[in-house]
């Protein structure tokens, strides 16, 4: 028997935006968490980390931040009965690719992040040097004007100063025009040269004359789900060109991987599998219903673009199986009565307005960076027990968002979940591509609890 281990693979691992807070949703065991890694670098030192819970839960999570040849820093968070923000402070002491490991004792989620270096762009260098040289040359001209016997001598440094000034002013004026270099972690792999000399990547990509985008992902799904029991589903992501593990997923819409599951009863789970190794993800699913569950996975590789992968799993009967029955808490998703959805249905190819309302107070919080999430699945047969099977076969599976309004002057990225000022009305515009019956779900968050509302619509051909 051979034992195969694969490295935590920090050097080329998945990651998120650099220079901004990193918000990552994680379904760790049966807890739905949002992990916020506050922006860090180029100054090294404290690394504030927040863990947001979305349901009452107790227990301790152990955190550790590590990078090859750096000092590993550890911390813990004590989760409380009240859902909300729990803080820990770790530290980083080196520029490069890091990994934040969070363990609940059973599963360890490994979130890659980048500690950026101080980078001086070439135009800023030219600008600084130009102005400094102009100053020095003006001083030389002054000295020469006072001391030189020949009247033409001061003109030489004056000419130099003019040239230096134009270099400086060109650099300063062009600064806003230059595109930023590829970002290590988001566009290219976070190797040390890519982090410390991003402009070198511009030269490299110019030489190779290829885009930054990569081959499509293959989803290799495994794991048996037994009704009524928390079951582990494994998602392995592979590079479709080489068959190697794809360890370059980036955070998009607040998660490395979004997994949506529709149960036989037509209930929606929106989960966020955790990265347990290079290209390897796991999620705990608990469903009390047996039968076919439809899955849609969204993930994006480094270099741009996201893709959707569809699959289905069949939940086997367990000791406590009932059918049809509700899907149990896994995501702490409250279903049903928490909100209402009404749709102003237009014919196919014409935009329809989907209006949802969650209570009466404007106290919704962003979840995954968005005020609301829209999931549209169809066309499929009218309501019945086999919604999972129908959803798995449905040709259309969409996931849209209602964005928070732009906050003028805001820095550091999106508003986090502590900002409870949105809603209660959340609207979407969606164009149904085919006639038929669709099921619609809208998700929002209040009091750190994820709310889900659902409806069905019949769309006619235009």
């Amino acid at each position: 028997m051979s034992l195969l281990t694969t490295g935590a693979g920090v050097s080329g691992a998945d990651g998120g935006p650099v220079g901004a807070d990193l918000h990552v949703a994680q379904t760790l065991g049966e807890r739905e968490l949002t992990v916020v890694i506050r922006r860090t670098g180029p100054r090294l030192g404290p690394l504030p980390v927040e863990v947001v819970t979305h349901a009452p839960t107790t227990g301790t999570l152990r955190l550790s931040a590590s990078s090859p040849s750096a000092t590993t820093s550890t911390g813990t968070v004590e989760l409380g009965a009240v859902p909300g923000v729990h803080r820990a402070e770790l530290a980083v002491d080196k520029v490069g690719a890091w990994e934040l490991a969070i363990t609940d004792g059973t599963t360890t989620a490994r979130i890659p992040f980048v500690v950026p270096a101080q980078v001086v762009p070439p135009w800023q260098r030219a600008s600084d040097f130009g102005f400094a040289a102009a100053g020095v040359l003006v001083a030389v001209a002054l000295v020469l004007a006072l001391r030189a016997r020949r009247s033409w001598m001061p003109w030489i440094p004056v000419m130099g100063a003019v040239v230096a000034l134009s270099v400086g002013m060109t650099g300063a004026a062009m600064s806003a025009q230059f595109p930023p270099p590829p970002q290590a972690g988001r566009d290219v792999d976070p190797s040390i040269p890519a982090i410390t000399d991003p402009y070198g990547q511009v030269r490299l990509n110019a030489q190779a004359a290829v885009g930054l985008t990569r081959a499509p992902l293959i989803l290799d799904l495994s794991g048996a789900v037994v009704a009524g029991q928390p079951s582990t589903v494994r998602l392995n992501f592979l590079d479709s060109a080489t068959g190697r593990p794809a360890d370059d997923l980036v955070v998009h819409h607040g998660a490395l991987v979004h997994l949506m599951i529709v149960s036989p009863a037509g209930e929606l789970l929106h989960l966020h599998p955790v990265r347990v190794g290079p290209g390897r993800y796991e999620v705990t699913v608990r469903s009390s219903a047996t039968g076919v569950h439809a899955l849609a996975v969204e993930a994006g590789r480094r270099g741009g673009g996201t893709q959707q992968m569809r699959a289905s799993i069949t939940v086997q009967p367990g000791a406590a199986a009932t059918r049809p029955a509700s899907v149990a808490p896994v995501s702490d998703t409250a279903s049903g009565a928490s909100g209402e959805v009404s749709v102003d249905v237009a014919a196919t190819g014409v935009p329809s307005t989907i209006r949802s309302r969650f209570g009466d107070d404007p106290t919704l919080q962003p979840w995954l960076g968005m005020i609301g999430h829209l999931i549209v699945v169809g066309p499929m047969p009218p309501s019945g027990d086999e919604r999972g099977e129908a959803a798995a076969a449905a040709p259309i599976w969409s996931h849209g968002h209602a964005m928070p309004p732009a906050a003028p002057g805001a820095v550091g990225g999106q508003p986090d979940e502590s900002v409870a000022t949105f809603g209660p009305q959340v609207d979407f515009v969606y164009t149904f591509p085919r006639p038929g019956r669709y099921q619609i779900w809208v998700q929002a968050e209040r009091d750190f609890t994820v709310l889900t509302a659902s409806t069905e619509v019949e769309v006619t051909a235009s």
Binding site: M1, S2, L3, L4, T5, T6, G7, A8, G9, V10, S11, G12, P68, S69, V95, A117, Q118, V119, V120, R125, D128, F129, A132, A133, V136, L137, A139, V140, V143, L144, R147, A148, R149, V188, D189, S191, I192, P193, A194, T196, D197, G200, L204, N205, Q207, A208, V210, L212, R214, A215, D239, S240, A241, T242, R244, A246, D247, D248, P278, G303
Partner: protein
Amino acid sequence: VKMQMRVALPALAVLLVGALFAWLFWSGSPTTAAAGSQANIGPYVVRLSTDSVRRGAAELAFDITDAANQPAEPDEVSVEPAMTQMGHALIPVRATPSAPGKYRAQMDFEMTGQWDITVRITSGNETHEAVLSLTVVN
């Protein structure tokens, strides 16, 4: 001569200040340690000797040490280069030891860019894979 000195000395001083400025601005180039990529995997630490090589034939040198920082001598070490951005991989090459814990492998990198170098270490019935990053430049 005295007059010339009166001009030349301050001019020289000012030029020196200018040179100092230039040095301050240009030496701030963001080059940290030239050490290559490192990966910690199972009981091993694998470290490339460089983080970039030129396009074409290249010899990759790397160290493998154990947890106690002693040279490791596994049964077999192979090197599997792949360029993820382009979606292509090269034929794996067996690395040869040049000294305890020091390995070399001959490669031919046909394209500039970021490469993933997977070092597969086999000892007994255990296999470990370390993924290191290497930049190929022109």
